[in-house]
C-alpha cells in the first residue's frame, strides 16, 4: 500500500427491484428534459431498452441511438456527440454493457469539453469538469463495473489498440441497478462477465493503489460473486442472485476505479485489441496465471481474500502460509464449474487466439497503464510466459 491514497465515488446508486421506475424522478432532479438514450440493437430487440423507455413516461428523449457495436470506437463516439448536439439533447442515459457505458462516457467527455474528436482529449486525470452533462447509467451486464469507474476504454481501430481515458468527470451521476436489466443475460455471458467482476475485485485488492476503502468494496464483491455466480448461471431468473451480481459488479468497479487493475487486465486488454477475445473470457483465462505471477509479492493479500473466496470455515482450517495458494485453487475450481456449465473457455487455444500474435499482444500489454500499478514488475518475457501458460 502507498503512503497516500485518493478515493472517489460520487455516483448515486439506485439498486434493487423496480430501480428503473425512479428514472423519471432522477432525471427531473438532474434537470434533464431531452436525454439522449444510448443502447444497442440486441437490447432493443429483447425488450430491455423498452423497459427503460417506458419508465421515462413524460420525459421525451431527444434521440435514441442503438447503433453501438460490441467494441465501441472513437469514430462511433465522435458521431454520437455530433448527433447529441444536432438533436438538442441535455443529458445522457446509457442502457447496456461496458461498450455502451464507455461510449456514453466518451460522449460526455466530448460534450463537456466542447470538443469534436476524442483523440484530442487523451490523458489521465488532466481535464477540468467543463460543461455539466447529466449522465445516468443502467448496466445490463454484471461485469465491467463501468457504472462505478472513472475509466473509459475505447477502441482506436487504426492502431488496433484500446485507449484508456481516466477522469473523475466520467463517473455517472446516477447508476441504476435493476434486476430486469440483467435477467435475460444468457448463462455463458453471465459466467464471463461475472469472472470480470471477480478479476476487478482481486486485482483491486492486490494492486499498488489498494487502500482500506477499496479493500472493503473489493472484499464484499468477492463474497457476492462466490455466493451467487454459479447460482445465476444455473437459475438466471432469480432476482436475488441477479441483484447480488449487479451489486458485486458495482462494488468491484468502485474498488478498481480507485485502486486500478494490474497485469491481468493489461494482458486482457491487449488480447481484446489484438486477438479480439471478449474481455470477460480473457479475464477468466488469465486470472489464475496472473495471480501465480503476482503471488510472490501478493501472498498476504491473496491469503486474506481466502476468507471471501471460500468462507470462514475454509479460511480458518487453512494454515496461514497456505492461504494464498488455496485462494488460487478456489479460483481454479470456480472456473472449472463455469466451464462445465457453460463451456466458458479455459485456454487461449479454446478461445481461438493465434499464438503467432503473442509477441504483439505482449508488446501492447506493456504499454497499458495497468502495468504501472501492478505490484510486480511486468516485462515482455513475463507476459509471454503468462500467454504461453494460458495457451493450452
Amino acid at each position: 500500500m502507498t503512503s497516500y491514497f485518493e478515493f472517489t465515488n460520487p455516483t448515486k446508486l439506485c439498486s434493487g427491484k423496480g430501480a428503473a421506475d425512479n428514472l423519471e424522478y432522477e432525471l427531473e432532479i438532474l434537470g434533464v428534459l431531452h436525454p439522449m438514450v444510448l443502447s444497442d440493437r440486441v437490447l432493443e430487440k429483447i425488450g430491455t431498452l423498452g423497459i427503460v423507455l417506458d419508465a421515462l413516461h413524460t420525459v421525451q428523449p431527444g434521440r435514441v441511438f442503438t447503433d453501438i457495436p460490441r467494441d465501441s470506437s472513437i469514430d462511433v463516439v465522435n458521431r454520437i456527440a455530433r448527433e447529441y448536439r444536432e438533436f438538442g439533447c441535455d443529458g445522457l442515459i446509457a442502457v447496456g454493457g461496458g461498450s455502451v457505458l464507455d461510449t456514453a462516457k466518451g460522449v460526455r467527455l466530448l460534450i463537456s469539453q466542447d470538443a469534436d474528436d476524442l483523440l484530442d482529449l487523451m490523458g489521465c486525470e488532466c481535464l477540468p469538469r467543463g460543461k455539466y452533462v447529466p449522465f445516468v447509467a443502467l448496466p445490463t451486464t454484471a461485469g465491467t463495473g463501468s457504472e462505478a469507474t472513472p475509466v473509459a476504454v475505447i477502441k482506436n481501430p487504426s492502431l488496433h489498440i484500446k485507449m484508456e481515458y481516466i477522469s473523475q468527470h466520467l463517473m455517472p451521476d446516477v447508476a441504476v441497478l435493476d434486476p430486469r436489466m440483467t435477467m435475460t443475460l444468457p448463462p455463458r455471458i453471465t459466467a464471463s462477465t461475472g469472472m470480470d467482476t471477480l478479476c476487478h475485485a482481486i486485482e483491486a485488492y492486490s494492486c499498488m493503489q489498494k487502500n482500506p476503502i477499496s479493500d472493503a468494496y473489493a472484499a464484499s464483491a468477492v463474497r457476492l460473486v462466490r455466493d451467487n455466480l454459479v447460482k445465476a448461471v444455473r437459475r438466471g431468473r432469480s432476482k436475488e442472485t441477479r441483484m447480488a451480481l449487479a451489486n458485486a459488479s458495482y462494488l468491484a468497479g468502485a474498488a478498481f476505479g480507485n485502486s486500478m487493475v494490474g497485469v491481468i487486465h493489461a494482458v486482457g486488454h491487449a488480447l481484446g485489441g489484438v486477438c479480439h477475445i471478449p474481455h470477460g473470457d480473457a479475464m477468466n483465462i488469465l486470472l489464475p496465471a496472473g495471480m501465480i505471477f503476482n503471488r510472490k509479492v501478493c501472498r498476504d493479500a491473496y491469503g486474506e481474500l481466502l476468507l471471501y473466496l471460500a468462507g470462514p470455515e475454509v479460511y480458518q482450517a487453512t494454515e496461514p502460509s497456505k492461504r494464498a495458494d488455496r485462494s488460487i485453487r478456489e479460483v481454479i475450481h470456480l472456473r472449472k464449474q463455469l466451464h462445465e456449465l457453460t463451456g466458458l473457455p479455459l485456454t487461449l487455444k479454446e478461445a481461438g487466439a493465434d499464438p503467432g500474435l503473442f509477441p504483439q499482444v505482449a508488446k501492447t500489454a506493456l504499454n497499458d497503464g495497468a502495468c504501472i500499478v501492478n505490484p510486480r514488475e511486468v516485462t515482455f518475457e513475463a507476459v509471454m510466459k503468462i500467454l504461453e501458460k494460458c495457451y493450452e
Partner: protein, 161 residues
C-alpha cells in the same frame, strides 16, 4: 524558501535526467529500443508543479531526444500537482509507479506512449541512484549495461542542447 530550494533541485535533476537520457540512448540498448519506438517528432513535457521546473523534449533520430523551448505544448505532458511531489520522485524517494499510484502527477496525451517513457525512467533510475535507493523504490532492479559512473561522466560532458 524550502519550495524555492526544491525548485532549484528539480531544475538540476531535470538537466541530469535529460543528459543521461541522451547518454543512455547511445549506451543502453534497452533505452535505445524504447526511444526508437516513439513516434517521429513526438514531444514530451515534464512539469514539476505549478510554477516549477519544466523540461520539453522532442524525439530525435540521431540523439534520441533534443531539448525544446519550455512554452511549447507537447504530445505528452506529465504534470506533477506540486513542487514537493516532483521533488520526491526526482530525488529518488519515490518511483514513477509510486507517484502514479499516489496521483502525484497527471497525464495529458496517450497513456500507451507514456508507458515507454516510464520504462526509460526506470532504467535511468537504475543508473542514477545508488543500489540501496533503487532497491527501495523500484519493484525490480532493471540492471545496468555500463557502469553508473560512466553515465555520470558522459552526462557531464554531454552537450546540453
Amino acid at each position: 524558501m524550502k519550495r524555492e530550494l526544491m525548485n532549484q533541485a528539480d531544475r538540476i535533476v531535470l538537466e541530469v535526467l535529460y543528459r543521461s537520457f541522451r547518454v543512455l540512448y547511445r549506451k543502453d540498448s534497452r533505452v535505445r529500443k524504447e526511444i526508437d519506438g516513439w513516434a517521429d517528432d513526438l514531444t514530451l513535457k515534464l512539469v514539476c508543479g505549478f510554477g516549477g521546473a519544466v523540461l520539453v523534449v522532442r524525439h530525435d533520430r540521431e540523439h534520441g531526444i533534443v531539448k525544446l523551448k519550455r512554452a511549447q505544448k507537447a504530445d505528452i505532458t506529465m504534470r506533477f500537482k506540486s513542487v514537493e511531489g516532483a521533488f520526491q520522485v526526482l530525488s529518488g524517494q519515490k518511483s514513477v509507479a509510486d507517484a502514479y499510484a499516489e496521483h502525484l502527477f497527471f497525464l495529458e496525451g496517450d497513456i500507451f506512449q507514456t508507458m515507454s517513457f516510464v520504462r526509460c525512467v526506470e532504467y535511468l533510475e537504475g543508473y542514477l541512484f545508488p543500489g540501496f535507493m533503487s532497491r527501495r523504490i523500484l519493484k525490480e532492479l532493471p540492471g545496468k549495461q555500463i557502469p553508473a559512473l560512466e553515465v555520470y561522466a558522459l552526462a557531464l560532458l554531454e552537450n546540453g542542447n
